[in-house]
Amino acid sequence: MPKTPRMKFSELANPNRFMRMAWWMIPLFAALAALLLAWGLYLGFQAPAERDQGITARIMFVHVPSAWLALGIYSAMAVAALGTLVWRHPLADVAQKSSAPVGAAFALICLVTGAIWGRPTWGTYWEWDGRLTSMLVLFLIYLGIIALWRAFEEPLSAAKAVAVLTLVGFINIPIVKFSVDWWSTLHQPASVFRLDGPTMHASYLHPLLISALGFSFLAAAMIIAAMRTEVLRRRVRTLNIFAAGEAR
């Protein structure tokens, strides 16, 4: 790690402390994630194939955790948005910006695995099931947030604008969820297909929880790694401005 120059104008409150912490947290979380996922999936694939859904129920171990993570990461981003707007903590907008792509990735995984899981029962590749459609809207909101990040050149003003959009989204998500659920019951008489199964058999619940934990550590590792890069990106940007300033 090159020794970073002491910045006269403090771009971030305590970047070096965070960078040192990141140095050991990323490998630790990655190792934990690998361990838990291996164990969770191993257990999961040992469990007896459920009677009516057959083998495809095993997709649940990736589909359900990614749904939880897509929502969990968005809530974390909403907290980071408060961090940017209320407590003005500079690492908050770095966290906000780094977690958006990871959240979007898990939303996408949830969508695709959900569609594949429903495929044999629905007979079509996409079924406007209430939960999947809400996840699609959440994915759209994620893309909007990433687009707004990329629209600003200057990171500070971008962070504040995105923080407002994230909070507005946070208020609107329950409304969208309710409307979509209400709407999905309109078109189908009753949702014939329950994605997460009528009752969770213990042999399925344990692996599900373990793999969910595994995915969470994986997400945490990725977000912290992305944050570390973002800190470096801002330092590069400041150095460029500094160099430009001196060249005057």
Partner: protein, 202 residues
């Protein structure tokens, strides 16, 4: 009426422009801000107006409510081309609650009366600047924050501006003006941001 700023600093895009700047203003004063381009004159004016948050330090006003008593004339003249000259001025008077009675008088004072019913699109830069400055006379406010108000003004326009500023100061108003010294408006105080920057950088 007193406005005291203590230890304010400003950074733009990661570079510190000035730190630890303090000054005090009372009735009838004109503070001149000088300094090279990019030394933070506009940012300081925007901080005083409350448009830009302070990095550090504080601005305290006694005897008047800063939000209701500030005029800010920036580089941009805030003139809408689709409206006529009088409509432009009338809008700001309506929005800011000025008295719409002597609109004609104000336009005449700024030599815009003949252009009153023309669309603002046809105005020259100098005429646009005079329309922006007309807001100062049409709406009574104590604190004037002027960012290089004399740009694009001809000799006669500058003389008129000096007169308007002197009149405002005579009635107890206060003015903070960023300028390149092209306007001899007899400032009571002067802050050169170039020096403030050098002392901060050393």
């Amino acid at each position: 009426m007193r406005l005291t700023a203590s230890g304010i600093s400003c950074a733009r895009g990661g570079r510190t422009l000035f730190t630890g700047l303090s000054f005090a203003l009372s009735d009838g004063e004109l503070m001149l801000l000088t300094g090279p381009n990019g030394s933070g004159k506009t940012s300081l004016l925007r901080q005083i107006a409350g448009l830009l948050p302070l990095e550090s330090g504080s601005i305290v006003c006694e005897g008047f409510e800063r939000e209701e008593e500030t005029h800010f004339v920036g580089h941009l003249a805030a003139v809408k081309d689709a409206l006529t000259v009088s409509e432009n001025l009338a809008f700001w008077v309506e929005l800011y609650g000025g008295n719409a009675a002597d609109l004609a008088g104000v336009l005449e004072k700024f030599r815009l009366d003949r252009l009153a019913s023309l669309s603002a699109r046809v105005l020259s830069a100098g005429q646009r600047r005079r329309l922006a400055l007309a807001r100062l006379a049409a709406i009574r406010r104590k604190l004037w924050l002027l960012d290089e108000p004399d740009t694009a003004l001809d000799a006669e326009g500058r003389a008129m501006l000096v007169g308007v500023i002197a009149g405002h100061r005579a009635q107890g108003g206060t003015v903070v003006m960023a300028s390149h010294g092209t306007l001899d408006a007899a400032p009571s105080q002067e802050i050169s941001l170039a020096e403030v920057m050098r002392t901060a950088a050393a």
